[in-house]
């Protein structure tokens, strides 16, 4: 069960997001999260949408922009050790289909959340801050950049 036995991929993290069905699973996961939150009786619909957006963005931030390296040993002697999962995607090539999809999807969720919160000011501020937390690290200009040394080592 070592990396690369049945394929020659050095870092499987680069290809996971390109697999068949991963986008559908992601969309279904977000939908499931929303339905679960809707089932909680004390939350109103605007609160549920804001919570969906915030939880989704928090999860995306953690798994794509905070976690670095690979969960298994790779034969490249740890070259990807300091890279986030987003930076490992497609070997760092920008504007691939996966990068476009995962950049647009939080924006779409943000639009939906804004619509269903009827553009309330408090919800708007929370949703916008949450969106920026996952959109700014995805910018091509910030590939490998660590502002103020955040998440540098």
């Amino acid at each position: 069960m070592n990396v690369g036995v049945a394929h020659s991929e050095v870092n499987p993290n680069t290809r996971v997001m390109n697999s068949r069905g991963i986008w559908l699973t992601y969309a279904l996961g977000v939908g499931m999260l929303h339905i679960v939150l809707l089932s909680i009786p004390f939350f109103s619909v605007p609160v549920v949408w804001t919570l969906t957006n915030v939880i989704h963005n928090f999860g995306m931030y953690v798994f794509m922009h905070a976690v670095k390296g690979t969960p298994f040993e790779t034969p490249d002697q740890g070259k990807a050790r300091l890279l986030t999962h987003w930076e490992q995607l497609d070997y760092g090539v920008q504007f691939t289909s996966s990068r476009k999809f995962f950049t647009i999807s939080p924006i779409i969720l943000y639009f939906l959340a804004s619509f269903y919160t009827k553009y309330d000011t408090a919800h708007f501020v929370i949703n916008t801050a949450s969106l920026l937390s996952v959109l700014i690290p995805k910018l091509p200009q910030l590939h490998g950049v660590r502002i103020f040394g955040i998440n540098k080592y």
């Binding site: 069960m1 036995v5 991929e9 499987p12 298994f72 050790r81």
Partner: protein, 553 residues
């Protein structure tokens, strides 16, 4: 009388192959053949061969979604378990650095062990099972149990006997205790000793090594051959001697680690084409010819295409006629790794060159191993005499590695003579035919049952797709309960959705063994629901015995 005819036929095959020219294949401009048939002139022994297509059926989309959800759940549980270990609620079984060293830079990256301690550990009883007998068609396993969820094992002292071995690369069944075979091996051991403490270039060149190399060259139908004591090193130590800086290597996506290591050690530029995708290969060749080397745009010194005969985890066969057409069109070299395919495909076991009816002289470097079909160790490189003579002087294995052990050499010589028929028997050819028959039978029955299997219909490597990670462990454990040993593979060894069980059919498997395996697979496939194929079930062909109808129930 029958024996004499067989011998004559075998010798005639060899003679006609080297003596006569190939019929010119009609090739379209883009390198593809006008028809699928590849013919051979002169000898009626070979029929026109239709190349069977590789099958790579995809499972329905819901299977992929469930696979990702399964991985997501186990990853979240892994994080939860890491949290429990951090706060001390769960015991940490693995090695840790001492508390006094916590201010130093850590020796290991903790996250790189995440997969191993949280996902692999719970299922690792399915791998690395100790055996205690010869790995023939059946073998014995040591029974081991775990009291702490696979962190440690203990042996109970009992053995699981007569487990059907579907995991070894024992294609022709030469992993056996055959008294007649081992007699001459014992004689050579007494004559030469068990080891050679020198390299081929120095005092380690015995006459038995020379005999083996002549025999391999005759077997393959090429001018010359050279044998090496280690199969992996045949690739990793000889590719750096063939290509270097300023050369280009076009490597198939699924090439073996030894090929990849050899390519990296060579210092040449490596580009990867899609698996068995001739459009992808031709695109890379065109770009290499037109653009040349990066930045300077000078011509490449050499372009080497590296492919395998049978891909060991995919079961697919190389598209050899198409690659040879591309090689000729773009003036590239071809390195063919027949580690699995030599002995395992072809009407007389001479590999994919015979399977496709291709002249072996058209392939620049023929590589193979003795570790699979011949029941030995080591590998060979064969081709033109100038190539082999060059490798004798420049190969890292020839200069630094010890020569092959003489009893191993004799085992290989016996096996090759058996396959060629020059030992006076037809046992070798019987095994080659038996392997082809077992392969076709096993593959067609698995397809009938509704499993998704990969690879070519003539390939004895049969990956059975399981997809979901939870089913990998369930499948392997349930098969061992039924006394069948299988090899299972999952992510990150494969891509994330293609976990599989890999069956290797052997000529030594009897029909009863295969029927038992097939019956167990049928029951287990329904039980854990891994029959994902959407093809229509065919009517039962006339080929099979009527007595097998009882397996339907």
């Amino acid at each position: 009388m029958i024996r004499t005819e067989e011998l004559h036929s075998c010798n005639g095959t060899l003679k006609s192959r080297s003596g006569q020219k190939q019929t010119e294949n009609y090739t379209l401009k883009n390198g593809y053949h006008k028809n699928e048939k590849v013919q051979k002139n002169g000898n009626g022994f070979h029929q026109p061969r239709v190349r069977g297509e590789d099958s790579f059926e995809e499972a329905p989309m819901y299977v992929a979604v469930l696979t990702y959800m399964g991985y997501g759940i186990v990853i979240l549980f892994g994080y939860f378990r890491d949290f429990l270990r951090a706060v001390g609620l769960e015991k940490c079984h693995q090695a840790q650095e001492r508390e006094e060293q916590k201010d130093f830079v850590p020796l290991y990256q903790d996250f790189e062990n995440f997969y191993k301690r949280n996902l692999y550990m719970r299922v690792r009883d399915n791998w690395n099972r100790p055996i205690c007998s010869l790995p023939g068609p059946v073998f014995d396993l040591m029974e081991r149990v775990s009291d702490d969820y696979n962190w440690t094992f203990r042996l109970t002292g009992r053995t699981i006997e007569n487990v059907i071995n579907m995991g070894s690369y024992n294609y022709l069944g030469f992993a056996e205790n055959n008294v007649d075979f081992l007699k001459t091996v014992a004689e050579k051991t007494r004559q030469y000793g068990v080891g050679v403490c020198s390299t081929r270039q120095e005092l380690g060149n015995f006459s038995i090594h020379e005999e083996l190399e002549h025999l391999v060259a005759d077997f393959l139908g090429v001018e010359s051959a050279m044998a090496f004591g280690m199969g992996f090193a045949t690739n990793s130590m000889n590719i750096p001697a063939l290509v270097g800086k300023g050369c280009l290597i076009l490597s198939d996506e699924l090439n073996h680690t030894s090929l990849i290591l050899g390519a990296r050690l060579s210092g040449a530029t490596i580009r990867v084409f899609k698996h068995n995708n001739m459009q992808s290969l031709e695109k890379l060749l065109k770009e290499a010819i037109c653009s040349g080397q990066p930045r300077t745009h000078r011509s490449w010194k050499k372009i080497l295409i590296m492919v395998e005969g049978i891909y060991s985890m995919e079961g697919s066969l190389v598209r050899l006629p198409e690659i040879i057409a591309l090689k000729k069109k773009y003036k590239a070299y071809l390195y063919l790794d027949e580690a699995h395919s030599i002995g395992a495909v072809g009407p007389t076991g001479r590999g994919v060159t015979e399977h496709f009816g291709v002249d072996p002289k058209e392939i620049d470097v023929l590589m193979g191993t003795f570790t699979k079909s011949f029941g030995a160790t080591g590998g060979y490189i064969a081709g033109k005499k100038e190539l082999v003579d060059y490798l004798r002087c420049h190969s890292h294995s020839a200069v630094y590695a010890t020569a092959m052990s003489p009893p191993v050499v004799e085992q290989i010589i016996r096996a090759i003579k058996c396959i060629m028929g020059v030992d006076g028997t037809t046992e070798g050819q019987r095994r080659v035919r038996q392997l082809a028959e077992n392969t076709h039978y096993f593959r067609s029955r698995l397809k009938e049952m509704g499993f998704i299997i990969y690879g070519n219909k003539d390939s004895p490597v049969i990956p059975l797709l399981l997809y979901q990670p939870g089913k990998v462990g369930a499948f392997s454990r349930a098969m061992l309960k039924r006394k069948i040993g299988v090899v299972v593979v999952g992510f990150p060894a494969t891509t994330i959705t293609e976990a599989r069980a890999r069956f290797c059919v052997s000529a030594a498997h009897t029909r009863d063994m295969l029927n038992k395996v097939l019956q167990s697979l049928d029951e287990l496939g329904d039980y854990i629901r891994v029959k994902f194929s959407r093809h229509r079930r065919p009517y039962r062909p006339e080929l099979y015995n009527v007595t097998n109808f009882g397996l339907d129930s």
